[in-house]
């Protein structure tokens, strides 16, 4: 693509020139990392998902399925605020306490309930998110804030007890809209005295959780120039995105108990066992070692289970009752009392030449954090910086972001992490610019997009936030975007649309290009331990958290590729903080890229050890050995010794005995972006605004595909969520902040009969810094459907919907206004 060289003159946000500081294109890669498809034995094959059979037989156990293992288990229930903003003046728990079968009722004043603030954001230490939550609250800030909790002999009793608690509130004025919330006269939601917030720009006088700005070049200068010149065009657009629920299949569930060693054990549906352990220890002032978090099967996370929401309440109840306690969120609680995707308002302005070269982009983001801050700075920043990376050649870029508090549900991490909101705005904007110039939207993109060998400085435009890319920017060592576009065009029939016969029906195509990261740069750690059994199989332990994605299977394939074993001979243990090596957890698309590399290194360590045995057994030099097909082969003689023989020899041999055990950690400043192109094919009925999507095609470059079945599932599953954000998302609240969406029936989750067909396409590239060339894939396909769809509708009927969800009424209204 055309503007690669321009970037080298540009200064980074830190003032260093890229030529000084940019990481080199070359990456020191181990010889075995780059294998042609036909040389791969375990990687890139459609291995059966390791837990598939126990899932289809109903034997896979999720947290709630462990209940029967604890005969004295108590059921917990949480009393949640019925008002959006105020103070609990009085709380009378006496009737609840007297009920038969009630073991304990806890309130903010109970001795077991910590009074210090914490953050529910399960991030690495020190968390960027503010400490602004209490486990139970007197001061309530949204409908759903936990006030008290009950443990009882069963759920029915616990629910009855919660209802018997009598609460009197002093209500305060509430604010629900982010724009209103940052006005000087809006009701104040937080008292800065009782919050610990290290995020930049926090201003509780104006309900601002975080604010940050960054600039490359001279944006005002570029707009001033455009005002005087006829060959420069200025385009301004505005975009709105609503709440989205993770709709995890398995509601948040946790079982807490004290064990015979006087330690606290959790079986819990979490994406972050280690962060949960550390945060619980800190909050309850218990040594880290006295908490154990085990993760069973997890029924989906999508970022929702990165938050530590129920565990603190369950622990307090366990302490109060000295019994195991189970807390299981209801679907209603899932919708408004767990975490949600933050709504965003985005303004984009740009300057572009007649030829279609971007001269300036100015992006301003306001997000609605809801009542408490979790991921406010980092996810709101991502609304801008993630996708600006694609247009890094633009000489002048500015990004400004504000995260505002309101009296609505709490925003957290959700698949895509700000990028879906940002892609809607930026890719919708780029389409608008192309049409203004009379250019094909893809021709316009190709003049401006990033490509292989380039340096991305735009994604480090904000200096604040977690895991910043260091000065000098990010070198793009793999980028299949051009081919993604080509393959996607072919699949959707770009430029070749047959119009329906009826003159009121109009068919159109839309596209959006997309980007994400592979883990948080400079802020990840994955580790792995692998030991050999005497039969030549291996037990692999990682802290990686398979939340349903199939990460365990992918890890076994990576290890098997190194060891010459079959993937089914690598048994992966679920993460458990007492047993597995450390891992930051399942978020930021990090597992395959970061933990996968740790697994590869650990397997290599083990292979070195087993080669030592093999060299002796074959009487050949170890440098000449290779491992494949379940055995180790000598190059010269072609003779082999099986992994099983090596396994027995290592443990029962006469000469030397040592168990083969490999281990490694991996942490990296790299975070190579996967790329992709989303296409939508739609027919709109101009009489009603109703539309039908014929197909959604997504072509993705995620480097080497470790397991095509699993990767396809990630892409179609993420496209489903992206489609929901486009057409089905959004919560409504009444004027008091009471949520209208309390169940699946009120929310636009796509079902089998409403979900349009989804076509995933893989464009393989080789990312030298990833395990066998892999990058991330789990989040990126959540980014593209809203912009591709608004662009397709614009193509079909000439009007644009710039606020989600896209509905027939909005299209109809836009058509009426023309």
């Amino acid at each position: 693509m055309s503007r690669t060289e321009d970037g080298d003159e540009k200064t980074t946000p830190d003032g260093a020139t890229q030529a000084d500081a940019a990481p080199p294109v070359e990456f020191e890669e181990e010889a075995n990392n780059r294998k042609k498809p036909d040389e791969r034995t375990a990687v890139s094959s459609r291995e059966e998902k390791a837990d598939a059979r126990k899932i289809v037989t109903g034997e896979a156990k999720y947290t709630a399925d462990y209940s029967r293992e604890f005969p004295d288990l108590a059921s917990g229930k949480v009393l949640r605020s019925e008002i959006a903003h105020g103070v609990v003046r009085e709380i009378d728990t006496s009737a609840a306490e007297e009920m038969d079968g009630v073991y304990a009722v806890i309130t903010p004043g109970s001795p077991e309930v910590p009074n210090d603030p914490y953050t529910s954001a399960g991030q690495s230490y020190p968390e960027p998110s503010p400490y602004d939550l209490r486990v139970l609250r007197e001061r309530v800030r949204y409908v759903g804030d936990p006030i008290a909790a009950v443990a009882a002999e069963d759920v029915v009793t616990a629910s009855a007890a919660v209802q018997a608690i009598d609460v009197t509130y002093d209500e305060r004025d509430a604010v629900f809209d982010a724009h209103t919330a940052i006005e000087a006269d809006a009701p104040r939601i937080h008292d800065p005295e009782s919050v610990e917030n290290h995020q930049p720009g926090a201003d509780y006088e104006r309900n601002i959780e975080a604010h940050a700005e960054g600039e490359i070049g001279d944006v005002d200068g570029a707009f001033a120039a455009a005002a005087d010149r006829s060959d420069l065009t200025v385009v301004e657009t505005e975009w709105e995105t609503p709440h989205q629920s993770h709709c995890v299949g398995e509601p948040h569930t946790t079982i807490a108990r004290r064990d015979q060693d006087d330690r606290y054990q959790f079986i819990t549906s979490t994406q972050v066992p280690y962060h949960a352990r550390r945060q619980l220890a800190q909050l309850f002032d218990v040594p880290i070692r006295d908490i154990r978090v085990s993760k069973p099967r997890i029924g989906g996370g999508f970022g929702g289970k990165q938050s530590i929401v129920l565990e603190p309440i369950a622990l307090a109840l366990t302490m109060a009752t000295d019994r195991p306690v189970k807390l299981e969120a209801t679907r209603k609680e899932e919708f408004h009392a767990m975490r949600v995707r933050r709504p965003a308002s985005v303004q984009v302005r740009s300057v572009v030449t007649d030829e279609g070269d971007l001269e300036a982009i100015d992006m301003s983001v306001l997000t609605n954090s809801g009542a408490y801050g979790s991921h406010g700075l980092t996810a709101s920043g991502a609304v801008g910086k993630k996708q600006l990376a694609m247009y890094t050649h633009t000489p002048n870029i500015r990004l400004e972001m504000t995260a505002a508090h309101t009296n609505l549900p709490v925003a957290g991490a959700m698949r895509g992490y700000g990028a879906p909101q940002g892609h809607f705005a930026l890719e919708g904007h780029m389409d608008t610019v192309a049409r203004e110039l009379g250019m094909d939207p893809l021709a316009f993109r190709s003049r401006n997009l990033i490509s292989e060998g380039d340096v991305d400085v735009a994604s480090s435009i904000l200096k604040e936030g977690d895991g910043e890319i260091k000065a000098g920017g990010r070198r793009i060592r793999s980028c299949g975007l051009e081919e993604c576009i080509e393959r996607g065009k072919r699949a959707i029939g770009w430029g070749d649309v047959e119009q329906p016969d009826a003159d009121y029906l109009h068919r159109g195509l839309g596209v959006a290009v997309t980007i994400q990261s592979s883990g948080v740069p400079n802020d990840e750690l994955g580790s792995a331990h692998i030991k050999m059994n005497e039969d030549g199989s291996f037990i692999l332990q990682t802290g990686a958290v398979d939340i349903g994605t199939g990460a365990d299977t992918a890890m076994s394939q990576i290890a098997a590729e190194v060891l010459g074993a079959r993937p089914e001979d690598i048994l992966v243990q679920p993460s458990d903080t007492d047993i597995s090596p450390f891992d930051y957890g399942a978020y930021a698309s990090s597992t395959t890229y970061v933990t996968g590399t740790a697994v590869k290194k650990a397997a290599q360590d083990a292979r070195e050890q087993l080669f030592e045995f093999a060299a002796r057994m074959l009487d050949e030099p170890r440098e000449t050995l290779t491992a494949h097909d379940g055995a180790v082969y000598a190059e010269r003689t072609g003779e082999s010794v099986s992994l099983e023989a090596i396994g027995y020899e290592s443990i029962y041999g006469d000469e030397k005995r040592a168990q083969v055990m490999g281990e490694a950690s991996h942490s990296t400043p790299e975070s190579p972006p996967p790329f992709g192109a989303q296409f939508a094919d739609v027919t709109v009925d101009e009489r009603t605004g109703e539309f039908e999507i014929h197909e959604l095609v997504y072509a993705v470059d995620c480097g080497t595909v470790i397991n095509p079945d699993l990767a396809e599932g990630q892409v179609t599953g993420a496209m489903h969520m992206s489609y929901e954000l486009a057409v089905g998302s959004g919560f409504s609240f009444d004027s008091d902040g009471q949520p209208d969406v309390v169940g699946f029936g009120d929310y636009g989750i796509p079902k089998a009969d409403t979900q349009p067909p989804l076509t995933p396409i893989f464009v393989e590239t080789h990312e030298p810094s990833g395990p066998f060339g892999a990058k991330a894939v789990a989040e990126i396909p959540t980014n593209g459907v809203p912009p591709a769809l608004t662009n397709a509708i614009r193509d079909a009927v000439g009007v644009r919907v710039d606020n989600l969800p896209i509905t027939a009424e909005k299209i109809r209204a836009a058509l009426d206004a023309t």
Partner: protein, 183 residues
């Protein structure tokens, strides 16, 4: 109170609370394959088959199944010998987190009994009460189509007097018998 029913082919007496739903009663008795995703009849994770009809067990008061025949996921195949519908889900990678899958499979099993040769639209319609948050449904639709052909092969062989395919095995890549190529 006690409820008598035929559960997965066996005469069973469950000791339950009056207010229990069928889902509560099953899970309390250790049949935890059926999952609770909502409790309001909207997700389908709790689907079981009652007297031949697929039913959302979270909506069914347990007292109502007195005398009924109830089948749960536990009645189908084992990990070594999967039922054809289960095998189709495994072979088509039609699952991720798996939380929806037991309910989905019970719905599919019952649906294919009533419509052994469905087209895609009928499949989508039949699954409209069973949410899946992970897969985007594509592979699930493939699995249902595959399951339909596995089941019809099985039936064809039986009426042929041929050997039925043991559940859990497909006719492709199987060396148990000489014939039995899939048509």
């Amino acid at each position: 109170m006690e409820v008598n029913l035929t559960l997965n082919g066996e005469d069973t007496t469950l000791t339950v609370d009056q207010s229990d739903t069928l889902l509560d009663a099953l899970r309390n008795a250790g049949y935890t394959g059926a999952k609770r995703g909502c409790g309001t009849g909207d997700c389908g994770f709790c689907t079981v088959v009652v007297d031949g009809a697929s039913v959302k067990s979270c909506l069914q008061p347990v007292a109502r199944v007195e005398g009924a025949t109830v089948e749960t996921i536990e009645s189908l195949g084992t990990q070594d010998e999967l039922h054809p519908v289960q095998a189709a889900f495994v072979d088509n990678a039609a699952l991720q987190c798996g939380f929806c899958i037991p309910g989905m499979i019970m719905r599919v099993t019952q649906f294919l009994e009533s419509n052994p040769d469905p087209n895609e639209e009928e499949i989508r319609e039949a699954l409209s009460g069973n949410i899946c948050r992970c897969t985007g449904y594509e592979k699930i639709i493939d699995a249902v189509q595959d399951a339909a052909s596995r089941l019809s092969n099985e039936r064809a062989m039986v009426s042929d007097g041929g050997r039925p395919v043991p559940s859990g095995q497909s006719c492709v890549d199987c060396s148990t018998c000489s014939g039995g190529e899939r048509e």
